[in-house]
Symmetry: C2
Subunit: 116 residues, 2 copies
């Protein structure tokens, strides 16, 4: 089975990537870095975790990169999707990003939300 | 370590409970059913999964049951929190419930979102 990690250059995505590797190592699964902005994963981290990694990209002409991610998750029979979210500060009124919210609401598999 | 499952009488919570038991069995952890509405867990399911379960409740006078859950998660050093969310229908514009959103944004540990 495969674990999908959202792939962007943000600290949130880096947290998702590390969490995906840890889950994959525990479960004996592989990880797909689903690149939402062209960023490539740190393959050295994957080697260190002993996890096989591949990279997938949103369709070039796709206007809905998150939809592409969800489709890809179904196509490969992903066991779960890991997304990074920002931590809300005690005074902040931060709302969950629309991409994270779309993934959480529309994915047919469990979605693991992690923070940097 | 401990996995916290939100505990209510909804189908979403039932999904969270089953996912929490599966995660706990895989990781060799126990589960806390954090009852948000007084509901008790199905202990037979836990026995079948071979997972130790305990029940915690929001503070009687607490006005913020989700805050109580997050505090409890920190107190017991929970490894993750499992919450149930509704699936968005293709035409629906369902937003993530405020309780789920609060847990995802404020928890210091990974939050696993599952659907019935």
């Amino acid at each position: 089975m495969t674990i999908i990690s959202t792939g962007t250059s943000t600290p949130e995505s880096a947290a998702a990537w590390r969490a995906a590797l840890a889950e994959a190592a525990l479960r004996g699964e592989d990880v797909v870095w689903f690149s939402l902005d062209g960023t490539e994963p740190d393959e050295a981290e994957a080697r260190e975790a002993g996890v096989a990694v591949s990279v997938a990209h949103a369709q070039e002409r796709g206007r809905d990169a998150v939809g592409d991610l969800l489709e890809h998750a179904e196509r490969v029979g992903a066991s779960r999707i890991v997304v990074g979210v920002r931590h809300r500060s005690p005074v902040g009124k931060l709302l969950l990003g629309s991409a994270a919210q779309q993934i959480i609401l529309e994915a047919r598999v469990p979605v693991v939300c992690v923070k940097p």
